[in-house]
């Protein structure tokens, strides 16, 4: 019963096999190998658009390197208040961009609303060298609250951003979960909806350590390779990173894994809603389930019964559960029993 994070999961068998296959004889280093050279074509096919794709090992690297490509040091990046780039990367975007400013925008269930974005942009005084200038809107898909932006939501926010001259980044650490939820094509929710660059996550959903920074307009990627090198993110045996990505998107593996994780999250959510004194804090669109207990002592009992989770805001009775491609229905059944037991005791 390990629901602390989808990062707690291991590596999908298909990806382990791809790593084994890639380990066949010598190959040119630093991305001049055959597998890496196929990536641009691979992702261009997947997104039905010519893209430039750069493999990196972590989501933080993908996000920070993309943002550094999209904003000068004196730019502002709008993001939801709890966005990973704003609160969970210890200032990586500031480091890579040379000190750009993240501007938090309030969201509802993790989603930035059109009006909130409009107000945030309006509040940035422009036309004067004293002030940072808005350069980027960054949307997290799926959001930090486990919800998903609809195609219309993204289109509207991107449209607003583009009107003001901003570029739009999507932090897709859980992009697979979002696409699986929406049932749309990867193109629909990215460049067709106005996204300029995407952090395409694979690690949380079955890879070992692999993400792709994808630019839908190759011109925007100027300097990306140099920054990646200076950041120490150009792997010498790059083929093993690229092989993960290749296996991840082959035969829709990424979507199959994400659909399973999403379904397990739905089952976890069902267990919650069935339990008196437990409520869902947000709609469950992806693989994350936020639970609020009326009685905060339930949290301890649940932990004591062997369930691993993150005590998100324990004084307010809030915990987070995350399913993954490896979560089993049996695990969820055990969780339901543990939850009901923990909730049934008087606090």
């Amino acid at each position: 019963m390990h629901f602390s994070s989808d990062n707690a999961s291991g590596v999908a068998p298909e990806i382990m096999e791809a790593l084994a296959r890639a380990n066949d004889g010598p190959a040119w280093a630093y991305g001049r190998d055959e597998i890496t050279r196929r990536l641009n074509g691979l992702f261009s096919d997947l997104f039905e658009h010519e893209v430039t794709a750069f493999p990196v090992s972590t989501g933080t690297a993908a996000n920070a390197l993309i943002l550094a490509a999209l904003t000068p040091p004196w730019g502002a990046v709008f993001c939801e208040r709890n966005a990973h780039i704003n609160v969970d990367e210890n200032g990586a975007p500031e480091f890579y961009s040379g000190g750009a400013k993240l501007v938090p925008v309030d969201g509802e269930h993790g989603r930035i609303g059109r009006q909130a974005l409009e107000m945030a942009i309006d509040a940035m005084p422009g036309g004067d060298v004293h002030h940072v200038v808005p350069h980027v809107l960054s949307l997290t898909q799926a959001t930090e609250a486990g919800t998903v932006y609809g195609v219309d939501d993204v289109t509207a926010l991107s449209g607003l951003a583009h009107e003001t001259g901003l570029k739009v980044h999507m932090d897709g650490a859980r992009f697979a979960n979002a696409v699986a939820h929406l049932g749309c094509s990867p193109a629909d929710i990215t460049w067709k909806a106005g996204i300029d660059a995407l952090s395409f996550g694979a690690t949380k959903n079955g890879a070992m350590a692999a993400e792709a920074a994808i630019f839908f307009d190759p011109a925007l990627a100027a300097g990306f390779e140099e920054r990646r090198m200076r950041g120490g993110h150009l792997l010498s045996k790059m083929r093993f990173l690229s092989a993960q990505l290749e296996a991840y998107v082959a035969d829709d593996l990424w979507l199959r894994l994400a659909r399973h994780a999403n379904r397990m999250a739905t089952l976890l959510a069902d267990a919650v809603t069935e339990t008196p004194g437990a409520d869902l804090l947000h709609p469950v669109d992806g693989d994350e389930v936020f639970v609020r207990f009326g009685d905060v002592t339930v949290i301890r009992r649940l932990a004591d019964s062997g369930v691993a989770f993150v005590p998100w805001a324990p004084r307010e009775g809030i915990i987070r559960l995350v399913a993954s491609f490896q979560t089993t229905e049996d695990e969820v059944r055990q969780f339901r029993a543990a939850l009901q037991q923990a909730a049934s005791v008087a606090g």
Copy 2:
């Protein structure tokens, strides 16, 4: 016949097996897993000294993060003119340190001499805020010329550095090759010889993407974790990075692999010295072999015959060959034949 780099090699079977073993059920993310928690003990045993070890994916990350811990932005880092940190990392040390200055020192066969270091330190005017202040000496072991510093060499240079208040870093991207060559203990050539921090390389010698930043004085590591996070180098599924390192040092695998690579380099060198018109540019201590041809047209013929190598300074007739843990005697035999054939033709 692939001798372009040891980075062109794949992953050692023992390390692939360790990855498979690590892929067993969920584990806490970001280094709180069991394997990662064993690393400090593992490396403390290996070095017979209490150390703090931080796994990262690349040698550039290890180098740049260590240097950023050892120097403020206004510090100077002395290194051999052709050191990787100076010429092959596109400014990663400058990026991570906030703009510290690398000061190249001339070496002989890749090794900084005591007198050259003394002159370089003397030439840095101190005591005035106009000038950067010497903070670090960085030694590459094995060197970029394929040679190895002896224990006495390192002790003398470190001693000189410490007298002036410098810290001493060792870039050990090919540390295994150096230790295998010297036949000393890892302790002998590091902290016992005055090294404060080591980039302990594994990738070039059988790992997939794994290096350890090792501090022999844990107090020097202040800020390392924060910088690693901001650099995007904290892997979520860290166990797979740590598992590589664990397998790498288990049962002396690292030394066995390095000894093989070194022996293959010796055989390559023998093939060179047997060939009229071909000379070794440097002594062959590790896995690198630098060759100078009197007739530069040999280079093209050698390449045409299917040998992969780096045309190091082709106008001067210089190429570089690198053996690896995967190089076979058979490959070397084929190389000898190809070389003799290429050299026998009139230019």
Copy 3:
């Protein structure tokens, strides 16, 4: 009738004379001159405490250099939402600190409240390398709203900050106006109230281009000189900067000038409150007067009548007027007439 900013004023005669006196023969450059060497003693006397004082040319430099001394790149700096460091320096603190994060706290009339600060600190999750760590509280005195923190206010906020291990910076671009308003000693409102470092402003109040970065604990100033040099803020003919500061604090000139400016602001405020349809947005403690007009068309008429001011939030009918040491009663009288004329016309 120029009320656009106190920066629009010129240089006080006493300071011009000091510049002329300083221009007497050669002097050692870069701060080794006699005048600069007197500064630490001068400011130690003024603050009744041993201080280290560094002259710089701009308030932005003083703020950013002090903050860089008080926080590592992975630190958080709490400040009022509209603080100069947050919205008017185009990211200078981020630049100098290497990417630290400014965290805006809501204030009332420009003053951070104790509860708001408490909540902001509580909201920063600590103990995890994913998050920036609170390092500094920065208070603006006088505030951006033209109000002044009382001694008790500063003491309470500093106390709260120190409990959590923060250092406390005071942005005193209008420090003279605040001290003149409070009638306390400079010591009372700084180190005695828990301030660790102060940007002591002089430019807005009669100097040409002179501020002092003052550390009440010299140990906190480590690295300041190096950063100032790297920032290009070490003047070669430093004596002319130091001479401004010396003349500024001699014979209480700074307080005399500030008292005058504050009194002129009071007269401006009186003119506003006498005018139907015009209200003060904030209490007028220093030299700034924020006015809200019920009828936004008054703004244009006021501008057309020759009054220079900043249309702060013109769509909401808000303008800012600033008095200075050079403002005359006659100018205020003219302003009152112009205001009443502008306000009397139907919109």
Copy 4:
């Protein structure tokens, strides 16, 4: 007898008067004043070319800000080994550029030779993301050795640089001395000779604290204003900085002052050459005189006799004397006497 530096001089009377004139009533802050608005026209006239000119307070700021505009963080800047940007700014160019690399080139009497530059450029391996890419050539005029590049020299070096796609910066901290020596027009030795941007110094030659960053192609100045703001170098009372520059170039004041300083340096040099055991280390083109004594004990005796100078390399018997616009013939006569006295004693 103060020859420690031209920075030890004071402010020219014409510039003090300009400051007094500028101190007349209020003026818009941050460069929107009338004087600052005239600067682009003023310098365009002076250089017979449309330029964009940005006033700043220090030469280090001018240099570092210009270099940051001309190179990305992954660029290389070639400069003479002893260039101010390389050894006297404590890493300011690295700080402002985000970590670009200064590459020292050997010079003769302070001047980079064509062949040395060619070799330096050739030695930078390009076309690979592992290496920094040459972006800028920076020439110091007059040089750090007190010599001056001829128009042909600059043209040849700039031509070579442009062929390789480099931009060319001129550090003109002593530009006036160079132009005075050459007798050419400012245009001849700058844009007509291939210079893209110039640090136009005034401080060493009679200003209080004033330099201009001048771009001969305004497009190259993109981002300069933002960087200047973030560096804390946008003065609020900018008129007082601009007034210095205006007075400095009015009626050829800058050239008259420089001619005087150069002539005084010539007289100092004459005194040296007349003295047995004293030699000039470099030709004296500008205001600097480097002296080598056969007997190093002369240095102490000269200092004891009241002559202020910099003991440049005292163990080698080398000192530096600098004349300024304020140096008098009488001072030089006293110096000659002191020198002859110091040199006549047996060591």
